[in-house]
């Protein structure tokens, strides 16, 4: 198998291309994104370079503890990122253990059977397979969990009166939150399902493209891609459902009262319990 190697200096051509075009658009349209663009372009390249060399080292020393460490870092970063993206909830520090659990559970259900029965790397911890495939799955879980949490906590805030009215009629938290949960899960799953519908028609997925470019026969590459696509659905469903379950536990007290989670307590008539982690730092936003 052979492929065209990209010499490092040629990356500068793409760097120039991205900077010139995006900065031009940003400046012309007055977007004010110049600083973010430059930072993003450089940071993205540096992160990838770092992870590239890390993978080189990992492949050279295929040892289970290193692979597990790498997976742990991935999970931790995904959980923290997911928790930080939620603006209406109880704050990143309260949310992070819950997002970690949701991402971990969904990823385990999506990954373990596939590595054990479908891809079957030998040894089981072979980094070349375990790290990139896990990365794609964990990333999808991160997005789904962030979206479910953001939507649920925002809805609980905005529709507080309606949820409390359900409670007052004798609804359990599960019943009182049924409609927001349904909407949040549906919204979080739709992008993954849309991905299934349009794959191959609009674009070739990244993993398949990479394999084809590096010389894998397309008929082999698609098998991997099908596995990944299905895993993405599994992780979205399991992580999303776990996130809704955990969000419900965060939103209600043991005596089934709706907590006030974000910001100042509302005026007395609509006040209620709250979860607080102290003053929120700007970096938690």
């Amino acid at each position: 198998m052979s492929y065209i190697d990209i010499a490092p200096w040629r990356l500068l051509i793409v760097l120039a291309l991205v900077l010139v075009t995006s900065l031009l658009v940003s400046r012309r349209a007055g977007l004010g994104l110049e600083q973010d663009l430059v930072l993003g372009v450089l940071r993205g390249a540096l992160q990838l370079l770092a992870v590239g060399y890390l993978l080189v080292a990992l492949f050279a020393n295929d040892r289970p503890e290193w692979v597990l460490l790498m997976l742990s870092v991935m999970l931790g970063a995904a959980a923290w990122t997911s928790a930080r993206r939620v603006e209406s909830g109880p704050g990143a520090r309260v949310l992070a253990p819950r997002t970690l659990l949701a991402i971990l559970l969904g990823s385990a259900v999506a990954l373990v059977p596939v590595f054990a029965l479908v891809v079957q790397p030998t040894p089981w911890f072979e980094a070349r397979y375990v790290v990139p495939i896990s990365g794609m799955i964990v990333a999808n879980a991160m997005n789904v969990v962030a979206q479910v949490n953001e939507r649920l906590f925002a809805t609980a805030n905005a529709e507080r009166a309606e949820i409390e009215q359900w409670l007052a009629l004798g609804a359990t938290p599960r019943q009182a939150l049924a409609r927001p949960v349904r909407n949040a899960l549906r919204a979080a799953l739709i992008p993954t399902i849309n991905g299934l519908m349009t794959v191959g028609l609009v674009s070739l997925p990244g993993m398949m493209t990479g394999q084809i470019v590096s010389g894998t026969a397309p008929e082999h590459a698609i098998r991997y891609q099908i596995v990944i696509l299905y895993q993405l659905v599994v992780v979205a469903a399991v992580s999303g459902a776990t996130a809704t379950w955990l969000a419900r536990r965060t939103l209600f007290t043991k005596r089934e009262q709706l907590r006030v989670l974000s910001g100042r307590r509302a005026p007395v008539p609509s006040g209620a319990a709250r979860v607080s982690e102290g003053p929120r730092r700007p970096s938690d936003r």
């Binding site: 007052a168 007290t253 089934e256 307590r265 007395v268 008539p269």
Partner: protein
């Protein structure tokens, strides 16, 4: 002497550092009416929400017909102690869907006849049943909210400022409904900031101020 239906002992609610309700004792007999007056921020709405168990207590206990609220599941307590908020929220769907909401949570489906009877109880025509609940006027919504609470056949009804958003004509009709609930044998607590309304309703009058509740002499 009639039995105490709802008893609150040492009810205390704190929001962070602020004490909103401080050691309140309160008894309500079956078929009795209590009207709570008081200034804004005095704690009267919080008191009502605490009785509805929508507000966590820092201290104190509530007994319903001698049974500790903590010993019941929150759902079964709330079915027996109905709470009608200041601004009624209509659930999506028809008026009939709203009236059926409470019993439906426990797997009971009210018949069309039962829905019609509830509408009559809250002085609405039976033709309201198929109408979209969110399209109703403020007064009509308030009636549906009361009917929705009555569908659970509660022993106690808690009304938070039931007429604050209504015109005088609708207000009078809602107050009639409140009186009918008392005559029907339920214990009823009404929170209001309007003195004339409190006087018009009758019953025992209380004032909630500075996180304390006290009975007005002679009421």
């Amino acid at each position: 002497m009639s039995a105490v239906r709802l008893r609150a002992r040492d009810l205390t609610v704190r929001f962070d550092e602020r004490t909103v309700l401080d050691g309140v004792d309160f008894d309500l007999d079956a078929g009795a009416l209590a009207v709570i007056e008081g200034p804004s921020g005095g704690g009267k709405s919080t008191f009502l929400r605490a009785l509805a168990t929508l507000e966590p207590l820092s201290r104190g206990e509530i007994l319903l017909d001698g049974e500790l609220e903590r010993g019941l599941s929150p759902s079964s307590y709330r079915v027996r102690v109905a709470y009608v908020p200041q601004l009624p929220v209509m659930f999506p769907g028809t008026v009939a869907d709203n009236l059926r909401a409470g019993p439906r949570l426990r797997g009971v489906e009210l018949s069309d006849e039962a829905v019609g009877a509830l509408l009559e109880k809250v002085a609405l025509d039976r033709s309201f049943a198929p109408r979209t609940a969110r399209d109703l006027s403020g007064g009509e919504k308030q009636r549906v909210a009361i009917g929705r609470a009555l569908a659970n056949e509660p022993r106690v009804l808690l009304f938070d400022e039931p007429t604050s958003a209504l015109d005088p004509a609708s207000s009078g009709e809602i107050l009639e409904l409140v009186r009918a609930c008392v005559e029907g044998g339920a214990g009823v607590v009404v929170v209001t900031h309007a003195r004339d309304q409190a006087l018009a309703l009758g019953g025992a009058r209380y004032v909630c101020e500075g996180a304390r509740l006290s009975r007005i002499e002679g009421s």
